[in-house]
Subunit: 312 residues, 2 copies
């Protein structure tokens, strides 16, 4: 059996479908990417490519062999109670994804470290202040040491910053102190820039809350480039108000797009981007996916397989 | 002879003197840092610490054994025709200097790469634009591969960017294509973000000019964190006007402080900082200096010695 002989169905918003079809046309022109959820003979479909699929639509694909999330996050899959758990589920972890994510995080932390707000205001007012210290001393905490969190931790360390990391299971990283289960308070007490790179699961729902903010070293700058439901917007606003947080650089929000009436838009200490920290590159993703389909046919181990019991 | 038995004289602006005296008090409390240029028995002074000394004041120090620049740049020394050239001249190259310089440069290039102007404007207008590509593809050229330029090149490469470098003499760097004497046009034609980290010498005076800008890949973003006299402000303004440059992130200016009447202040495509990319940390610098004084007494090779014939 060859990878071209399998049937592939994509179930995703229109814009995503167009991007992935174009990518497959380039990478594997002999392969057809059918658009679901309504296709003929769904029982002969092998590979499902999913992004925000409608609940209930997976039932028909009774002989699917592999499910692929079209991004790094899999929360959109996990919330479907009918998601088949007996077949492998994989996610895209392309190198460009960590390139973009880490550079987004580094931009956000240098924005704070290098006092960019001050220099923007000074330029506007034509003030030449050579004598003020141009940097804020920071110790960076990476909350979540998955593929993306580790990449960010290593790169930030390489730039010369003190870095600590937290992840439920021990993840040793050269030159970086890491904390695990039971040590989260010690982790939080040790850093004053908190970078959130956790997956969204029932365990991380609402994790970025006042309770957590109070445990960090002051003043604390928050960067969230993971998932919006990991944070409590009201708590971020309140923590800024109380001076517990000194700023928040946010790519994700509890509700996306961020509603027009949100007070976050015009908050002088909140920096907003529209969930663009890391956009999956479909061509790199398609290559990775087909390599995994080949591994499946060869009965070899798959890369970037999701553990459904953990939820990521 | 011990390092404490030598006489040290600092000749620098008041603010610098205060900082270095504090640093020496911490690092070497038994050592006296006398403030010049007017001191008793200048002929018994061994070590001169200089930053923007008044011309002509060095004559009296007839038995100086070592001259130290209190920063990475030595142009302030070289412009004094009476600078003694028969004794070693060293400059501070502390690790924090490259920490700060590289992070400044990386902030500036991510500012452009991650389209920060767009996202600031979008936030202000409450626009959630998830679909626009969030990054500008860039290839980074480092003009000047001294200690600071090399550090920046290596770190930017480590972040996943394509990096090329230029330096008059060949400087091989792993994974980075480098150009040298005679290849500057090929270097310029290969990159669309130009980072200037050259020393200021007669050869680099006015180097960043229209002639040079025209040779770069379009659209070009300029970052100058070296010395102001390396650039021609009028040419930068004109190149922006003509669309040859798409933006300029400048830490240095031909005249500093930047004059109030300069059109650069309010230019929407010029990002100004007041010569703060890299500030020498006096304690780290003092340690490095005393290590070199010890080497001098031991007749061992000195670190970071300047070549006066090259001017850096």
């Amino acid at each position: 059996m060859k990878i071209e002989q399998l049937r592939y169905v994509i179930i995703a918003p229109e814009a995503e479908v167009v991007k992935w079809q174009a990518a497959f046309a380039k990478i594997a022109p002999t392969l057809t990417l059918e658009v679901g959820p309504l296709v003929e003979a769904p029982e002969t479909v092998s590979i499902l490519l999913l992004w925000n699929h409608p609940a209930g639509c997976l039932k028909a694909f009774t002989n699917a062999q592999l499910i692929y999330s079209l991004g790094a996050g899999v929360d959109h899959l996990m919330r479907d109670p009918e998601l088949p758990k007996h077949i492998p589920i994989c996610r895209i972890v392309d190198p460009l994804l960590s390139f973009s994510m880490s550079n987004y995080i580094i931009f956000a932390l240098l924005y704070y470290h290098r006092k960019w707000d001050k220099y923007v205001a000074d330029q506007k007012a034509q003030i030449w202040d050579h004598d003020a210290p141009p940097e804020i001393p920071i110790k960076v905490g990476i909350l979540g040491l998955g593929t993306l969190g580790q990449d960010a931790a290593i790169k930030i360390k390489h730039l010369g910053f003190d870095v600590v990391g937290y992840s439920p299971s021990p993840k040793p990283l050269t030159g970086i102190q890491t904390f695990h289960e039971g040590q989260i308070d010690a982790f939080l007490a040790s850093c004053n820039v908190l970078v959130c790179t956790v997956p969204y699961t029932s365990a991380t729902h609402g994790l970025l809350s006042m309770t957590l903010f109070k445990k960090l070293k002051k003043p604390t700058f928050l960067i969230n480039a993971s998932r919006g439901k990991v944070q409590k917007s009201q708590d971020i606003l309140q923590a800024l108000e109380m001076g517990i947080l000194t700023g928040a650089f946010l790519d994700v929000f509890e509700q996306e797009p961020l509603p027009k009436e949100s007070p976050m838009w015009q908050h002088p200490k909140i920096y907003i981007t529209p969930h663009v920290a890391s956009i999956t590159n479909p061509q790199a993703g398609a290559k990775q996916m087909l390599k995994n389909v080949q591994a499946l046919l060869d009965h070899k181990p798959l890369e970037h397989q999701v553990n459904p019991s953990k939820g990521y």
